[in-house]
Symmetry: C2
Subunit: 424 residues, 2 copies
């Protein structure tokens, strides 16, 4: 396996660092618009693991917005797999470039949605991933695989859902992805500050788009942002967090392969973050349309959302000042394999202290990066095989979760996951 990794931001960097401990690939080319970022990643790997490991890595410059360039870089390095680790707005270009180069493709976020033009909070418009699934026949015909939504959420959450359907439940009422954390960031003086652990730009996009829900009868439909608030109790000391419906890929992926009466995604934003997003929206500061603003160099035009992002700490830099854990999982309700009612939360927790120590990566970013590496390993070893445009739940979940949980000393990733039964 020869991997072209597109993007050496937080998640791309962590993908390369996690892969450096594994032997399943021949070459991993770290590429970025700014090649020095790719170089920094490979330098870290060389310092941590030595020249022999670093020899399986290369760096290159890439423009992820141009499918021809993506294809030509992939061909140049003989890439068998293109791993997309940049912002979702580049999905289409990298997706097309990989197919043109005859490579398989993985991403962690799918092609973007567009709200329904007249009824956005009831009906779907263009859905997440629609553009990619529309090209499924091309991938199938070419005998190539596009494994879409293969991060942590979507990604690990979809694997959990498949595992629950295959091994824990005979009938599923709801697959409810629930994501929450107790992360706290402090400034130099130790005072708690507001510093989202994930791109605020993407978070605004996710949270202010109409959330999508799937139901057996109704199919896909949307609601107003922040709908159906619930306090979900997260495990391992994280505790209760206010969660609301958010537009997310799982809702578009799971119903295609798994039988369930309802599929939802609720994000544990917490009351403070929800208030921030509502306020930004009320003030128009979520907008991506440039406004004219005075500056010392005369009037300029900037998108308010870019200014919000520029005013906050870079999520990639806050790891050392962050404490706490993040939890990704699926809350499944229905009938267990024994025929009785069952409610179970399948989850994985990532602790920032550990990810910083082991990988110099903050835990949200690291947890996202872990999963595509596991998937690549299963594809490299032939445990997972497929063609066309497929989600993670199209594959057998058991070997995935086994490889993930098994100790590193036994060839696994040493990342245990858990099933918490919640029915009294």
């Amino acid at each position: 396996m020869r991997i072209l990794l597109v993007g050496a931001g937080g998640v791309g960097d962590a993908i390369a660092k996690i892969a450096a401990r594994r032997g399943f690939f021949e070459l991993l080319v770290v590429s970025d618009y700014d090649e020095s970022r790719a170089q920094r990643t490979v330098d870290w790997i060389r310092t941590k693991h030595g020249d022999e490991v670093a020899a399986r890595f290369a760096t290159t410059q890439i423009d992820a917005s141009d499918p021809d360039i993506v294809a030509s870089v992939a061909r140049e390095h003989g890439a068998t797999h293109v791993m997309n680790a940049v912002e979702p707005k580049f999905v289409q270009a990298i997706f097309a470039g990989a197919l043109a180069a005859g490579a398989d493709y993985l991403d962690m976020a799918m092609s973007l949605s567009e709200p329904h033009p007249s009824d956005p909070y009831t009906q779907t418009g263009v859905k997440l991933g629609d553009d990619q699934f529309a090209q499924g026949p091309d991938w199938d015909a070419a005998g190539r695989l596009a494994l879409v939504g293969m991060g942590v959420e979507p990604g690990l959450s979809d694997v959990f859902a498949r595992f629950a359907a295959d091994h824990l439940f005979s009938e599923i009422d709801e697959l409810g992805v629930r994501d929450g954390a107790n992360l706290v960031v402090t400034d130099e003086e130790g005072n708690e500050i507001f510093a989202p652990s994930f791109s605020i730009w993407t978070t605004i996009e996710e949270c202010l788009n109409p959330p999508v829900i799937w139901e057996e009868e109704a199919g896909w439909f949307t609601t107003a942002p922040f709908s159906e608030p619930e306090v979900f109790e997260f495990p391992e000391g994280i505790g209760p967090v206010e969660c609301v419906n958010v537009e997310h890929e799982e809702v578009l992926l799971m119903p295609r392969w798994i039988d369930a009466k309802r599929v939802t995604f609720k994000y544990g934003l917490g009351a403070e973050f929800i208030n921030v997003l509502r306020t930004l929206h009320m003030l128009g500061l979520d907008s991506t349309t440039p406004v004219r603003v005075r500056s010392d160099d005369g009037p300029v035009h900037v998108a308010p959302r870019d200014v919000v992002a520029a005013s906050l700490p870079d999520p990639a830099t806050i790891g050392p000042r962050m404490t706490g854990k993040t939890c990704a999982g699926v809350w499944v309700t229905g009938t267990g394999t024994d025929g009785g009612a069952r409610e179970a939360y399948l989850y994985h927790v990532s602790d920032n202290e550990w990810t910083m120590r082991e990988y110099d990566a903050q835990c949200v970013v690291w947890q996202t990066a872990l999963n595509p590496v596991i998937a690549l390993e299963l594809l490299a070893t032939g445990v997972w095989q497929g063609r066309g445009v497929l989600g993670p739940e199209a594959f057998d979940a058991a070997p995935y979760l086994d490889l993930m949980a098994r100790p590193e000393s036994d060839g696994g990733y040493g990342q245990p996951w858990h099933v918490e039964d919640r029915l009294a």
Copy 2:
């Protein structure tokens, strides 16, 4: 009287329009950095009142940041009075320019404060107006008057305080300025939108600076922003509004001329606006320090606060889509002239429907502009006389309030004010 009006923004425009109905001055020169704004004001006066009235107005360009230019424009037009109607950051330049030109001076906001360097939420640093009062001896020696803080708040509020001290109370416990409104702004479709009726830039400055309080024993001291919230009941249908301490000129002015045990300013921001300001502060979007932001023309540097201001509707343009009233006043407690306990709210209400119909000016801006015109008239007629740097409470309040309340048909401004006794 020959007046140089510096600034033809919302308040400057309304000052000229209000003055156009009065005969006390010989010439009013409307000046602005953008002379077309001044021209627009005079064009409105010509259309509304005819050539004869408009003949007492002129326009010119001015750079309010340069005292030499202010002085030279004042001399050129033989200005006897310089009326400052621009942002407080230009106070020092216009103040100096007026004195250099040998003119009297009026403003509606005083020289800016600087927080205490180590203990900002307990101790004052540089206070509002400190820089101006320090130059009092120069004005006194020159035989010239600087009447500072002569808008509605500060301004009318200080006149009310002086009136209460002279005519309603024998001893004052607290002079509590209380400002509130029930203004609502709607978009084209009639949906309520967030659109502050006053410059958000200035509002952030006022509300996030440490609020200042004066007490007989302690003198001036500060608190954390938004301290001492209280729900104040405003008259004429406005109703209850949540008010909090805010840094404001009255607290610096009133104790210099009026005996009171305590002086406070609370602004009826309402819970929603307080939340907006807190959120902007938490995100660093109140900052005036430029941040680097991507734009279609490459990276640029903009101050987040300027972007917030640019993203919201221009307060000068929302009048036609606004409904409601704004109330300015002083809540006075203590001992009445009859020796019994007394609590009274002295106030003036401005109704947006009326100010739009009569002046094409929204009510908050119009109410601010009304007061310096009344003061100029009292100075022109010699009813008010003084030298040095003085606040409105240094002058007799009775003729001011009489001129304000008397019907236009009887030579007044037709703006009644009220005393509401609140002690059961």
